[in-house]
């Protein structure tokens, strides 16, 4: 038996039952297609989350008040009061691995300009904050480092705030808005940044000098979060160590008692979210695999029917001297051909579904080459596994009983 003979035989007999072969193959097409589509959706959301987090600033490190706990820590700031401006200054002074430092406080405020008003969040920050979090100035200017440490009543506003209070961004520059009745002069408008990784609108924000917000708006003495940036992404862990040492020293010296803060880097958050999307991807792919499995059972079913129907043919082949192996391989190659054809069409189908989902639902989708290999390999595997049992059944037939089969 030569390879070409086998292929020809398989194609001929599939061709004799074209509709049946096609419908059976459809099971594999749908299975392979949905595995590919599900993997693409999973991978797409993973990549989009990663890129959104990266847009926040890869080297970002946050220091929050409160005891560090490995799990289940709320990301909400402002619940504890143990951080102060001096901590931020100490980091700035003593740290070698931190390039940028900004304390921050945040509150919600009613903003009024003329007859228009808007409820938004106002952040008190240092100039470095803008670079740490990858904001860019779109119109006007950002106040400088020195001003950001002053008590001046100036601010830059996010695009969403700008659009709700003014007709055009240009118009906003130099205007005075009232934030909780306190007048602030607008120096600039931030460039649009879009949605954050937690779904929040990063453009619905006002940035103002730290102490202005802390003292004038909120009337507090503590810092909610200290934002830091490591010198580079490879030094993030070392930088965290260093910051931790500095803060422990400082807090012990100043206050006595236990240090009380938590340090989180963005890469940690990325890896947590990465785990979630991986679980999601696996879940989606497993569900899709079930349809591939069902497709495989369909192949087995139809091959068993085919063996029964063609018992006389098998008997004849055995009578003219077909060895057991040739019969086995003949039937096996039929199921493999169906699965391979189903695999190829399934990949195309998967591409189609993926593109459609990406377009209609506006979901991020990415087809990884490895998922194609996986789906294809899985399809061939199913062809062999589910084709083997019927093929073996055919090859083990007794020639004379097979010939006498009605």
């Amino acid at each position: 038996m030569r390879f070409f003979d086998l292929l020809k035989m398989a194609l001929q007999s599939l061709n004799k039952n074209r509709t049946r072969a096609l419908l059976t193959t459809l099971g594999i097409i749908i299975g392979v297609g949905s595995v590919i589509a599900m993997l693409a959706i999973g991978k797409g959301s993973d990549e989009s989350i990663r890129s959104q987090i990266t847009s926040l600033g890869t080297n970002m490190i946050m220091v929050m008040p409160g005891p560090s706990s490995e799990h289940g820590r709320s990301m909400q700031a402002g619940t504890a009061v143990s951080l102060e401006l001096k901590d931020a200054e100490a980091i700035k002074r003593y740290s070698q691995l931190i390039s940028m430092v900004s304390p921050s406080v945040q509150t919600r405020a009613q903003v009024v300009h003329g007859s228009r008003n808007w409820n938004t969040s106002i952040n008190g920050i240092y100039r470095d904050y803008v670079d740490i979090t990858n904001y860019e100035i779109g119109y006007g200017i950002m106040f400088d480092e020195k001003t950001s440490q002053s008590l001046q009543k100036i601010c830059v506003i996010g695009r969403t705030v700008c659009d709700s209070l003014f007709d055009t961004p240009d118009e906003a520059i130099g205007k005075v808005i009232r934030v909780n009745k306190i007048p602030f002069t607008i120096t600039g408008v931030l460039a649009e940044k879009g949605q954050g990784s937690f779904g929040q609108n990063q453009d619905d924000v006002i940035l103002a000098p730290f102490r202005t917000v802390q003292k004038r708006l909120m009337g507090i003495n503590y810092v909610q979060i200290i934002y830091l940036s490591a010198v580079n992404e490879f030094q993030i862990d070392a930088a965290k160590e260093e910051v931790s040492t500095i803060l422990i020293e400082k807090q012990k010296k100043l206050r006595g008692g236990d240090p009380d803060f938590t340090i989180r880097s963005l890469s940690e958050i990325t890896s947590i979210l990465g785990t979630i999307t991986t679980v999601l991807t696996i879940l989606l792919a497993s569900i899709a695999s079930i349809s591939l499995l069902v497709g495989g059972i369909g192949i087995m079913n139809i091959m068993l029917v085919s063996v029964t129907e063609r018992t006389r043919e098998i008997g004849l082949r055995l009578a003219v001297g077909a060895p057991e192996k040739a019969i086995l391989v003949q039937f096996l190659s039929e199921s493999i051909v169906m699965c391979l054809v189903g695999g190829v069409l399934g990949i195309l189908f998967g591409y189609g579904v993926t593109a459609l989902v990406g377009k209609l639902m506006n979901w991020p989708v990415v087809i990884a080459p490895s998922s194609i290999l996986l789906a294809f390999g899985f399809a061939s595997f199913i062809g062999i596994v589910f084709g083997y049992f019927p093929a073996r059944k055919a090859s083990r037939l007794n020639p004379i009983e097979a010939l006498r089969h009605e």
């Binding site: 003979d5 004799k16 009578a319 001297g321 060895p323 004379i400 010939l403």
Partner: protein, 241 residues
């Protein structure tokens, strides 16, 4: 040395309850160049015996020597090799592959013969079909052929691997008498060229065209005689016209 030699062949179907003793001890020797007709009433075990000789079935007990080689110990693989190279089968119901051309049917045994290069298959199959006067029907599907033509395709298939023995179980059973004689003419010619032929038939006139008649009854051989001066099928056909 006989080509086929059996000793006390016994075949029991469904041992235990419902037991059928189809063969109860058959011992025959068949030499090269013989044309053996097997006769006997229905259910006497003719087909069962032929299938055992053709290595399609195994005896319950007894010894079967094929060219002095014991068949009973052979593996399925070795048996399939024997069927492919040494035997040709012709069945009452033709057993051609449906929806397949005459040529492809005749090529079938060659597909399983690794000694023959695939490029030679077609030519060999064409030759066998021409030998049986089917040169103009080679590309017809089997369902487009008459019964006699189909049986001749089956004979071509049995011939194509140049076997030592041709087994035919009631090859003319589904054919009218004239077509039957035409098939017998083919067998006689094949026998002239040296092929050993074993044929089961119910008709004495056809059996008498062979060189030896073995008669079965209830799984035993009750008569085994040579035919002296067997007539030629071609003469009978010519006379009838």
């Amino acid at each position: 040395m006989p080509i086929i030699s059996t000793k006390d062949i016994v075949k029991v179907f469904n041992p235990g309850e419902n037991e059928v003793r189809a063969l109860r001890g058959i011992s025959v020797d068949i030499d090269n160049g013989e044309f053996v007709s097997i006769m006997g009433s229905s259910g006497s075990g003719k087909s069962t015996f032929l299938n055992i000789l053709g290595c399609l079935d195994e005896p319950t007990s007894g010894e079967y020597l094929l060219e002095d080689q014991k068949v009973s110990g052979l593996s399925r693989k070795e048996l399939s090799l024997i069927r492919n190279r040494k035997f040709g089968f012709v069945f009452q119901s033709y057993n051609l592959l449906p929806r397949t051309t005459a040529l492809e049917n005749v090529e079938l045994p060659l597909v399983y013969n690794t000694e023959i290069p695939s490029t030679n298959r077609r030519q060999m199959a064409e030759h066998a079909l021409e030998q049986l006067g089917l040169g103009d029907r080679m590309h017809h599907k089997t369902n487009e052929l008459s019964g006699g033509q189909q049986q001749r395709v089956a004979i071509a298939r049995a011939l194509v691997n140049d076997p030592v023995v041709i087994f035919a179980d009631e090859p003319t059973g589904n054919l009218d008498s004239r077509t039957g004689y035409q098939i017998m003419e083919v067998f006689q010619k094949l026998n002239d060229s040296g092929k050993l032929i074993l044929m089961v038939t119910h008709e004495l006139e056809l059996a008498a065209l062979g060189k030896r008649i073995i008669t079965f009854r209830d799984g035993l051989v009750i008569n085994d005689e040579k035919v002296i001066d067997s007539p030629r099928a071609i003469d009978i056909l010519n006379k009838e016209q």
